[in-house]
């Protein structure tokens, strides 16, 4: 694997390979010594143009557990705030011999630009770009579902026939986009639930069913209910009247939680707005996989870094 930019271009076999390698990485995290020497001498740059704590520390933990050196470059207080272009930043990192760049950017397509530009030879990992994609989040979500559904027998399996319902701000959510593409590739059936104002205008090419009513969606007995965060930083227009109304109609409260199938799971990419899209009762229930998602995030990112950095880069021409 040369870069990891989106889940849309991943084939089923590639996706399962990443999940299986993540399975091996997860196993090493229960050992006495959790650090592996695999990426000794490699440099991973975390290039964060947008605030993020969870994804950044998850990538940082993943790189460090594989013994890579991690350099964190956040736009605030850096040369970028002085007006440096993406090109100059990339060339600076190339001159420092970065082997991989984990990039988060508010512009959709920035990681693709970095990968195609020739400014830098490093492997590029998309850690969230604008409202486009967040592939490692989707992979860790798929990993978490697979683990809950298949347990020890997860290896080599996909998510065929699993009913996944994604609820919330689909319009702005790169997590939803990456999940829709990946889940479809893995054979799951995706339903999107949101107020019409928080859905993209043209959902034609999306391999998903759309509903507007959460109670209807819960009545369909989904295996997985994924609640998305209401991103207040992106709520620049009147998408819904007020947060209480949103919470009443599209939030997962205790009463809706009780109506879910006992075997179903509740997911949230974090950080959660407790009381808005998810109640504390739901977030802390045994069905919630919120903390598993965080732990699995490190394993999945270790797998992505391993697959990107370990082989002979001349021979891995696949993008």
């Amino acid at each position: 694997m040369r870069h990891l930019l989106s889940t849309k271009t991943l084939t089923r076999d590639e996706a399962i390979e990443i999940l299986d390698v993540a399975e091996d990485m997860a196993e090493t995290q229960f050992r006495e010594v959790r650090k592996l020497p695999t990426l000794r001498g490699k440099t991973v740059v975390n290039l964060f143009f947008e605030d993020s704590t969870r994804t950044r520390i998850s990538f940082e933990a993943a790189a460090k557990r594989l013994s890579a050196d991690v350099i964190t470059f956040s736009a605030k207080g850096s040369s970028v705030s002085k007006g440096e272009s993406l090109k100059d930043t990339a060339q600076t990192l190339a001159a420092m011999h970065a082997d991989a760049v984990v990039i988060r950017h508010s512009a959709s397509g920035a990681p693709q630009t970095l990968a195609d530009s020739g400014w830098i030879d490093a492997g590029i990992l998309n850690a969230g770009d604008g409202t486009h994609e967040h592939p490692t989040q989707a992979l860790l979500d798929a990993f978490t579902m697979r683990k809950r559904l298949h347990g020890e027998r997860s290896r080599g399996r996909a998510l065929d026939g699993v009913a996944v319902t994604i609820v919330g701000d689909i319009l702005h959510s790169r997590v939803a986009r990456s999940n829709v593409w990946l889940l479809d590739t893995l054979g799951a059936e995706v339903t999107l639930v949101a107020p019409p104002t928080l859905l993209p205008v043209d959902l034609g090419p999306w391999p998903a069913t759309v509903r507007y009513d959460l109670d209807d969606a819960i009545a369909q007995r989904p295996d997985v209910l994924m609640m998305l965060r209401i991103q207040s930083e992106r709520m620049h227009a009147a998408f819904f009247p007020n947060s209480r109304e949103y919470s009443r109609r599209w939030g997962l409260d205790d009463e809706r939680l009780a109506r879910l199938d006992p075997a179903s799971i509740v997911m949230h990419p974090g950080p959660m707005n407790r009381g808005l899209e998810i109640s504390s009762g739901a977030a802390d229930s045994p069905r919630s996989t919120v903390l598993e998602q965080v732990a699995n995030g490190v394993s999945v990112r270790m797998a992505a870094l391993y697959l990107l950095l370990s082989g002979d880069r001349e021979e891995s021409t696949r993008v």
């Binding site: 091996d24 090493t28 050992r31």
Partner: protein
């Protein structure tokens, strides 16, 4: 190119039985024995050795697998390898006699990686090495304790180990270049 079979099914069975006896002899019994195979074919050999030891000694010896992919020193020189699962017996390896099992012992680099991997998993009392075939050309100061067959070879030759569980039959063949 010519291929020549150096070990047949019965030879492999005999070699593994002898290795099992030697392990029992050097360990003075089956106490605290942990047999770990190195994927992929080492795992199968470890399983067979553990079964033989169990039937000779009466004790139940369970084998495991020790993946060394993440500890290799040549990762950057090959296309990306997929790691294999590591499985240890439930009692772990601390204070026990660990016997590493591999199919072909060559440069010794795999074993170097295996020793590093073991260090991260615990602290065995002793580590021994068993190999079905020792073909020489060591690049590190590593030697096997139990060998099925010493097979002096040239570096241009290739050795193939086939095991029923993976390949449908048991055999060791050597493919020469200059014969």
């Amino acid at each position: 190119m010519s291929a020549r079979t150096v070990l047949h099914e019965a030879d492999i069975a005999r070699a593994l039985t002898r290795i099992s006896h030697e392990i029992l002899e050097s360990n003075r019994g089956a106490d605290d024995l942990v047999i770990l195979g190195i994927p992929t074919r080492g795992v199968i050999l470890a399983k067979r050795i553990a079964a033989t030891i169990s039937s000779i000694s009466g004790a139940t010896i369970v084998s495991g697998a020790l993946d060394v992919t993440m500890y290799r020193d040549d990762l950057a020189k090959h296309p990306t390898r997929a790691p294999q699962p590591t499985t240890l017996p439930p009692q772990g390896i601390d204070g026990r006699t660990v016997v590493l099992v591999d199919d072909v012992l060559y440069s010794g680099r795999t074993i170097r990686a295996a020793l590093d991997a073991l260090t991260d998993l615990g602290r065995p009392r002793v580590v021994r090495l068993a190999a079905l075939v020792d073909r020489g050309h060591r690049e590190l100061p590593i030697r096997p304790d139990f060998v099925g067959k010493n097979l002096p070879s040239s570096q241009a030759e290739r050795i193939f180990v086939r095991l029923t569980e993976f390949d449908g039959d048991d055999s060791v063949t050597i493919e020469g270049s200059g014969e």
